[in-house]
Symmetry: C2
Subunit: 498 residues, 2 copies
């Protein structure tokens, strides 16, 4: 039997007993109020805790990437500045209600990176100008052809130009660079040609609108470039460099973990997992890289980058890094699989595999250093050579497998007369052969990345390490001159902090 609970304010039971009489829990009226209140409180607390969590998330984002919080402040500042056109009488008299367009431009065109802002501003200005001119032209033609035909000509022109411009936004070359411009073209053309039907001083209106947009865009560009600028080029450069380091860490960590030498892994637990899974960021970085490279092209010379810095080469390097990441993904999964190689084989191969993986990741790390310092490395060729040696050693180990351990069909298989050797079934060497071949493949892909980085270094005219050192020593002899090397180091540190 189930006991009826006493109304203690804790759990309450309502029981239907088999004979049909329903047991009732008598609840005083104040109690039911209390229950409603409890439910309400639960809802409110739940809602508040969700909001609290949201703010916590926002706060942690702001702490992790203060640049993003600063971007918010920059937008606020730009809007406050542009709203002065309303508050200060002489400014307002100049532009009047059209100041709205300046505000709108700031809201719409102010982007996170300098390149994106420039791209949007140029697109907005060009699109507005072209469409405005075309709109005035069409308006003039429509005006000449009599009152009856005017709305028809205007309608047809809006239909045709809007359809053509909208479709052009699907063409990849237009989409990549002038997507926003095409939209603004449609917007301005429709507004000018359609509202021209009701507005008399159309030319004045167009002129005012263009000048307020010019005010808005210049304010945007100034704010985004002068206060803590975030350069798309810089971000792309940092992203690629970071990806190299992540791949190196993942590769190293995964091989070391497989061969059970956990002591060498710096981080443990969650952090170690994070390091091992670093390659996942590289797998899906294509879209970001393309957007960044696209915006970087709009940026003027800044920091260590010239105006015509070969941003396209970054995309190629990124593509090769992604290819490495695909292989590392396969490697990670295979090292985590259940089929284990026999201990003796693992021990035998660990030396070669770890040597190859560490020399491979050293090459990746050196590539990251090359990118970071923007200096051609004298060591890289030697390191690639070392990596290739490690590849050959691993291949040698695979070849010599048959010498040291004859592969028979069972562990208790044949023993050759003159050699006493362990016999391991072929199936058991498969994981080792597989992992070794993957490592060799990764090394080959890394070598291609090195070629691509060299190509980038040539096109971007990275300095020679020797030239840099001699400059540094010159600077040490003439301590009064500003040290270029140190400056560069400083820039590098700033970049790393960024």
């Amino acid at each position: 039997m189930v006991k009826e609970s006493k109304p203690t304010g804790g759990l309450e039971w309502r029981i239907n007993v088999p004979n049909g009489t329903t047991s009732k829990v008598l609840v005083p009226e104040s109690k039911s109020h209390f229950r409603v209140w409890n439910g309400l409180r639960g809802l409110i607390v739940g809602f508040m805790s969700r909001i609290w969590k949201f703010f916590e998330k926002a706060w942690s984002l702001a702490v992790r990437e203060p640049k993003k919080a600063i971007h918010g402040l920059k937008v606020g500042m730009a809007l406050s500045l542009v709203s002065l056109f309303y508050y200060i009488r002489p400014l307002y008299n100049g532009v009047g209600g059209n100041a709205m367009w300046a505000v709108m431009t700031v809201v719409v065109a102010f982007e996170y990176t300098v390149g994106a802002t420039l791209c949007k501003c140029v697109n907005r200005a060009t699109g507005t100008f072209l469409a405005g001119a075309l709109g005035l032209g069409v308006h003039w033609i429509a005006n000449q052809s009599g009152e009856k035909f005017e709305p028809i000509i205007l309608q047809v022109s809006v239909f045709l130009f809007a359809a053509a411009a909208t479709f052009s936004r699907f063409i990849p070359s237009i989409k990549a660079r002038f997507d926003y411009g095409a939209m603004i073209f449609i917007l301005t053309f429709s507004l000018v040609s359609v509202s021209g039907y009701r507005v008399d001083k159309l030319f004045e209106l167009a002129h005012h609108r263009l000048s307020t947009i010019a005010i808005g865009t210049s304010l945007c560009i100034l704010t985004v470039m002068l206060f803590c600028p975030v350069w798309a080029g810089n971000e792309l450069h940092y992203l690629i460099t970071n990806n190299m380091e992540k791949l190196a860490a993942s590769l190293d960590g995964c091989v070391v973990e497989y061969f059970g030498i956990n002591a060498n892994v710096n981080a443990k637990g969650e952090d170690s997992d994070k390091v091992l899974l670093g390659y996942k960021c590289v797998l899906n970085s294509k879209a970001t890289e393309e957007v960044m490279a696209n915006f970087a092209r709009w940026e003027p010379a800044h920091g260590r980058f010239n105006f015509r810095h070969p941003w396209n080469e970054y995309l190629k390097v990124g593509a090769f890094l992604r290819k490495c990441a695909y292989c590392i993904e396969t490697l990670t999964v295979s090292t985590n699989s259940d089929t284990e190689a026999p201990h003796i084989l693992k021990k035998h191969f660990s030396k070669f595999c770890i040597s190859l993986s560490s020399s491979s990741s050293d090459v990746l790390k050196e590539l990251a250093v090359i990118m970071n310092t923007m200096t051609k490395s004298t060591k890289i060729d030697l390191m690639v050579h070392e990596m290739n040696n490690a590849v050959q050693e691993l291949q040698g180990a695979l070849k010599s497998l048959s010498k040291e351990t004859i592969i028979g069909d069972s562990k208790n298989g044949i023993e050759e007369g003159n050699k006493s050797s362990t016999v391991v079934p072929l199936m058991e060497i498969v994981p080792i052969v597989y992992i070794s071949t993957l490592l060799i493949e990764i090394a080959a892909r890394i070598e291609k990345s090195v070629e691509e980085v060299n190509e980038l270094a040539n096109k971007a005219e990275f300095e020679q390490e020797s030239t840099k050192k001699s400059k540094q020593s010159q600077n040490q002899q003439n301590p009064n001159q500003p040290s270029q090397g140190n400056q560069e180091d400083l820039t590098m540190k700033t970049l790393q902090k960024v």
Copy 2:
């Protein structure tokens, strides 16, 4: 000696002879004009040919994806419709110059897919409403606090709200769904609170603006949904299905090509390359899938999809397909590498590898059929079973390698007393072991994809094949009833055409 050419209107030579006297080619004046004309013509022809190529590209895009051209026409139509607010006197009297906002809404919010349009429209309407209400509130407070403090309060509120809303756009959950809404919030709030300083009938202005935006958004939604609608959900469904087919074709093609049975590949040359490289589309489809799934959530029930169709499951299926693609990428590269396995081994393994790859690709094709018909398949379990059998056969072949061909350290190595067997060095079996293991890994990943598709089929309540068949036979018995099966087939065909 170089001969001076006669002025024949063809090639002309100008030679500096060593003693300093310069030989002159006498060109009649008309000729130099001709040359300038030629240069100009070259420039114009080059320019025209570039434009021509651009139009050719656009035309081929329109032919390949007519939906995109239709989208252009739809935008043109919506703009023509909304511009009637200017041309028709009673309509214009109703909204006046605010009709501009309706035009602007159509240009900005009309997107390619229904989901994207709905998302933008809802965001625009909500953002405008919230910001308008808040702006009016702030305006009232500022109004109460005296002429001196009014601009200060307005400025500070614009700064704070704009900064907060801009920053919120970086928070992933906001960015995914309300990015546009946040932008519109900033825009409207700034406009209302700032222009409120100069405009007297602010409430009327806000009301007009909101009503014109409502007109614009409803026009957008009607046009996008009624004329050849493109559903983001449909596109996502088709994308995933298509990716399955592409992976199947790549996997099949690559293995068959490696084992040299080219006769089985349907397409040759460029087309064959295109088929083989189909997996590349899958590698980078993550961003597209996420965007599509995000928009699909906004869409009402349409075609075979309910309102709460489990779009998230598509992302999971997509992720597993991408994992297959990573492996296929590694496989493709390894089958194209220089290190070839010896002919005898290749021949021995071709049977097993092709059997595994074809059963794997069959599973993928069946998954595509499941998705296409939205019917649970009774065959799929059998096919997975077959695939697993093929895996075991391949593993068996690997095991039996040592029985049939003893692996020694050279081709001329030892021969065992009682067995006459070919001796192949271990290094030469490495490629086969590697490719086989990759194939086994791909099969494992495909099996996980099958599980995920089953999960999707359960959540989306796909029909049972048997139920469907019985319904079909019922329909055949009552031929007067509309055939649901046929209808479904028709939808499928339409989908495939799309």
